[in-house]
Symmetry: C2
Subunit: 181 residues, 2 copies
């Protein structure tokens, strides 16, 4: 069925090829990643809570937790690389030719998506791992900080969505690889 | 250069093909993953420390920290799936044919390695994220638990090595994919 539609569409030159379709899907996934990472960045930067105890006021911010600092660095680096990928994708779609000729462009996309997806996942998992147990210990110490950990978890969730869209893009760029075996 | 060696080896039938070489490399990587995950499992199970304070003795074990419970579940599931992959790899190498015919085997290897590598990385990152900040808070509370967190970090490092070998295997199985673009 897939093959039949392919052969009929190739007779009309205006119909998009399967390669153009997959490039468009990858571009949409990258724009979604961009949106998720942007909101994740805004949320993590706003993650702070002021608590009052017998000693006076004390404020906790995202950079008091090392795991959240790692999380923010994965968001920022992922964001910068994502912008580069979007620029290259748009260039390829518009001009029809790749910036990197031959196998280079495919390899760049493949390794770029692969490494970025690992990177974003590690940031999200580190954030969730720290939140879960720290929140329990703070609760046990009668200092729940629900808003603080809620915001941090919201940011880690958005980072996880960014990972999922990058991982799906990575499947497409793996299938587009030139065959070596 | 690569192409030259390939054409000369194909003339002698006894020389291994590049596909057999990459299958052997993948098998070696999977055996390494097996070793790393086995030691990671032993180390995390042994992660406990007894501390004495004014209230008497108290013991902390790996299952007191939720992130370490998630870590152990990724190790166990990764370990089980790894054994299945090793069995299938050995079968393919010995018999020369695959259990799953057609594209099925390649897709199984590709998605198996991809999902497993994400899974192992998330366990390792969650473990490191929790260790880093919990250790700081315990140190600040004059209860360093250095041995406990040291063992947990050793296990998370081994899990990270298991992730790295799986990620390299994943590159090989991506290049072996049937071309779809």
């Amino acid at each position: 069925m897939e093959n039949n539609t392919k052969t009929t569409t190739t007779t009309t030159t205006s119909a998009p090829s399967s390669s153009t379709v997959s490039r468009t899907v990858v571009l949409v996934l990258r724009v979604l990643t961009f949106v998720f990472l942007l909101i994740a960045l805004i949320v993590i930067v706003l993650t702070k809570e002021t608590s009052e105890d017998s000693d006076g006021e004390s404020e906790i911010k995202f950079n008091d937790i090392h795991a959240y600092r790692y999380m923010i660095s994965t968001i920022v680096i992922g964001f910068a690389f994502n912008l580069l990928q979007i620029a290259l994708s748009i260039f390829t779609l518009v001009s029809g030719s790749r910036v990197l000729n031959g196998d280079g462009g495919y390899l760049f996309d493949f390794f770029g998506d692969k490494i970025m997806s690992y990177f974003l996942l590690s940031g999200s998992a580190a954030g969730f791992g720290a939140s879960e147990d720290l929140h329990r210990f703070f609760k046990a110490a009668e200092l729940p900080l629900n808003s603080f950990f809620g915001k941090a978890n919201a940011s880690a969730s958005l980072l996880l969505f960014g990972f999922i869209t990058t991982a799906i893009a990575s499947i497409f760029t793996s299938f587009a690889l030139p065959k070596k075996a």
